[in-house]
Symmetry: C2
Subunit: 191 residues, 2 copies
DNA sequence: TCGTCGGGAGAACGGGCGTTCTCTCGCGGT
DNA sequence: ACCGCGAGAGAACGCCCGTTCTCCCGACGA
């Protein structure tokens, strides 16, 4: 065996992640992933029985990575209010990554959501997870209506993601942070 | 001549609009548009020299339609503050259309933005136009910083569009409207 | 009436893609 | 040393798609 199964999987997933995210899921052929990963097609199909399965794994991995990065930023803050603002700092640092091209779930949903129920479902789950995280933060900060504040914050976040992707600027993150601060003034008890 | 050039063009554009929007640009073949429009392939290629040209025309048409629908809602309101809220009422009525599947520009950008500069450019122009419209409304409402208010409103709008598309619910429009009201409380001079 | 022009229907072409198959080779066990 | 399993490389297959071509017909001017 040339390479260990686990490392082969990691190589394939890394290559798929980079290519799918950069060019979109449909524009990337299995051959490109074969070339980029250095894993033979035969093995690739042993690890992932179809392109759809690979797409699923790609989205799953993105979800994990995204949650981890978000948690790192949020955990670094101590004050509940600061933790909410840290979400937008996280967005800003994400937007300034040179390969930033929007949210993988929004992009995949736009490509395949109407045609692949699985992709649509994964996008919903990802966004639901984010919403839950925001709701927890809002509750911890003592919001009178944490669900409402969470909804407002998620709108700002999603808006910032797509606006930043299309405009190519990271400014929407700071604008969203501004707006979040204003909304918190109204939704949180005075300190 | 079986059908007049103008009506043939309209039939093709209507078919392309429906199919591209519903299934995504890349999932729809020229053959499907030929069948749906009833216009022969030969004529189709006389009217639009390539699929790319047809995609461009599709996006252009979407832009026009969208601006028109927005303007109808905004113009129906009289108070400057009401005009801004009318934007979110427009979003709500859009989201409840049975074929709603998010913003055609965001979806196309996710599919082709990285690979087609023309699509990326059209998406930027569309969003810039929306931003300008919001900035005008914010200025008319007497915002201290109309650019900032416009930026906050566009984030709420874009967030509502993608959240609604993925969740399949129109609720984000009302949540965004709520948030917009709160932000206006702070950004506009007391009445 | 005849020829020609333009359009409709759909076959054809060239290329790409997802998936599978073939061939070959190196390695481990006896 | 030999056998056979599994892996790598890439050809092959079947299908789809964008684009062009062919063939046929109906309309219209001389």
């Amino acid at each position: 065996m040339a390479i260990d199964t686990a490392t082969a999987q990691r190589q394939v997933l890394d290559a798929a992640d980079a290519l799918f995210y950069e060019r979109g899921v449909q524009s990337v052929g299995m051959d490109a992933i074969r070339t980029a990963s250095g894993v033979s097609l035969k093995r690739l199909y042993q690890l992932f029985p179809s392109k759809d399965a690979l797409i699923e794994a790609y989205l799953h991995q993105r979800d994990q990575q995204w949650k981890t990065m978000l948690a790192e930023h949020v955990d670094a803050a101590t004050e509940p209010r600061e933790k909410i603002l840290a979400v937008f700092d996280f967005l800003h640092s994400w937007f300034t990554q040179k390969d930033f091209r929007g949210c993988a779930f929004i992009n995949s949903f736009g490509e395949l959501g109407a045609v692949s129920p699985k992709v649509a479902e994964l996008a919903q789950e990802h966004k639901a997870g984010f919403r839950q995280a925001l709701a927890d933060l809002a509750a911890a900060a003592g919001a009178a209506d944490p669900q409402q504040l969470a909804d407002h914050l998620i709108l700002l976040s999603e808006g910032a993601i797509t606006t930043s992707a299309i405009s190519g600027s990271a400014a929407p993150a700071t604008r969203a942070r501004e707006a979040a601060e204003l909304l918190m003034q109204l939704a949180l008890p005075a300190r």
